[in-house]
């Protein structure tokens, strides 16, 4: 038991590295908030564009969404981080992580919001148009709010899953929770920083996981 405590909850190691993991938590939180905002924003925008049903544009959106939903994000991160500098585009690790996860979340958000738009009853479109609203107005003021409401649970689940992937930043050296914990672990030759990191992630994400459970109970999912 003593050995267990000494390995995973070593008070001295915890005290020494807690500030660095707290710094990491700030990076994780900032990245997560930015990724959720821009990912869902871009995804919603693409879903709206697709509603105009202009063939070449819809086709490109579908290809984009399919590819980024099928590729492991870590592959995209490595390509961007190690490949781009050789063609003259040098981005910091944090920026690469932000851009890639935003694009991945946007791909999923596009598909989810699009499912919401297509399952909004046709009558809503017709009623909106008959009151004199243009197509764009009907989309933005009548259809989209209903569509988004319908897909809040799957959108929340996906946003949580993607923001958790900020931990992948470890691989390219982003100083987030896991990155800092991993450095601390190798300096201290002790597992306590990793325990602290795990606790930090649970504190950050558990409220959202429980919240998503509540949302799911409250909203009926379309198609389920």
């Amino acid at each position: 038991m003593d050995r267990f405590l000494d390995t995973f909850f070593n008070a001295e190691v915890l005290a020494r590295y807690a500030p660095s993991i707290l710094d990491g938590a700030l990076v994780t939180v900032v990245l997560s908030v930015l990724i959720v905002l821009s990912g869902i924003g871009l995804g919603t925008l693409l879903a709206c564009l697709r509603a105009y049903r202009i063939r070449p544009i819809s086709f490109l959106i579908v290809i984009y969404a399919d590819i980024l939903r099928a590729l492991p994000p870590l592959v995209v991160i490595l390509v961007a981080y190690f490949g781009l500098p050789n063609v003259g585009v040098v981005l910091s690790a944090s920026v690469v992580l932000y851009l890639v996860l935003t694009l991945v979340l946007a791909a999923f958000a596009e598909e989810i919001v699009w499912a919401g738009i297509t399952s909004t009853p046709q009558g809503q479109w017709e009623a909106a148009r008959s009151t004199g609203l243009g197509f764009t107005q009907a989309l933005v003021w009548v259809v989209l709010p209903q569509a988004v409401r319908m897909v809040i649970p799957p959108l929340t689940n996906r946003a949580i899953a993607i923001t958790k992937m900020t931990a992948l930043g470890l691989v390219i050296g982003v100083p987030d929770i896991l990155g800092n914990a991993s450095t601390a672990q190798s300096f201290s030759a002790n597992a306590s920083p990793l325990t602290l990191a795990a606790i930090a992630y649970v504190i950050l994400f558990l409220p959202f996981v429980i919240g998503s459970r509540w949302l799911e109970a409250r909203f009926a999912r379309p198609g389920a």
Partner: protein, 221 residues
């Protein structure tokens, strides 16, 4: 333009990398073959526990599921692979990957099976029991088939997520496809092996992603 082709679509480098990547793909598929059935089974058990009558059982199952849905899989993997050795428990990369992904996937499968089980009307189980089937028979022959069918797109979508997840095994140097690609990348200073890996992942997963889309539309429509 030439620089881009040279850096990302260098056929020479790709040809050189292909045998190693295919070997890696074998490992990727092996991880999937172990982790998907194990995760589905664990998830099913957790789902049954989380829909059970006994309150303690129900809440501990929900706590398990929520904990592992909150923890990023890479954190779990690093903890098991790099943390446990300090306590004298040294695991091979394959064992660490299997345990980490099993815990992570069970939680996701559990949520899906739970939604499926809850979507089957109570009358189905009551009718089955009234014909003399035992509770176990009712579960296997009446509730599970309907539950599985109702959440088939979600189950498939989780399988896609698991195949993508296997790429994390590269972090603990398990020689799956991404690890192989990154190895060649670091030797050749060229990103083409990663693009080749991306192409192979697409080949593997794009049909599944399309299939899921079709299922979802059919059920919604």
């Amino acid at each position: 333009m030439d620089a881009i082709l040279q850096q990302f679509f260098n056929w020479g480098v790709m040809a050189q990398a292909l045998p190693l990547l295919l070997k890696g793909l074998g490992m990727t598929l092996l991880i999937c073959a172990v982790v998907i059935p194990l995760g589905a089974l664990g998830g099913l058990l957790a789902a049954l526990a989380s829909t059970a009558q006994a309150r303690a059982l129900r809440w501990s199952a929900i706590a398990f599921v929520d904990l592992f849905r909150a923890l990023p899989p890479l954190v779990l993997l690093i903890f098991i692979y790099a943390g446990l050795p300090f306590a004298g428990l040294r695991l091979s990369p394959f064992a660490a990957v299997t345990i980490a992904f099993f815990l992570n996937n069970s939680a996701y499968f559990a949520e899906i099976f739970r939604a499926g089980l809850l979507s089957v009307p109570k009358g189905q189980a009551e009718a089955a029991l009234s014909t003399g089937l035992t509770p176990a028979q009712t579960l296997i022959w009446v509730r599970l088939p309907q539950a599985t069918r109702n959440v088939l797109p979600d189950l498939l979508s989780n399988v896609v997520e698991i195949v993508k997840l296997t790429s994390l095994a590269s972090v603990v140097s398990l020689g799956e496809m991404l690890h192989a690609a990154d190895l060649v990348r670091s030797v050749t200073y060229n990103a083409s092996p990663l693009i080749l890996a991306a192409g192979l992942y697409l080949l593997l997963l794009w049909p599944l992603v399309r299939l899921i889309g079709r299922f979802e539309r059919r059920i919604a429509g």
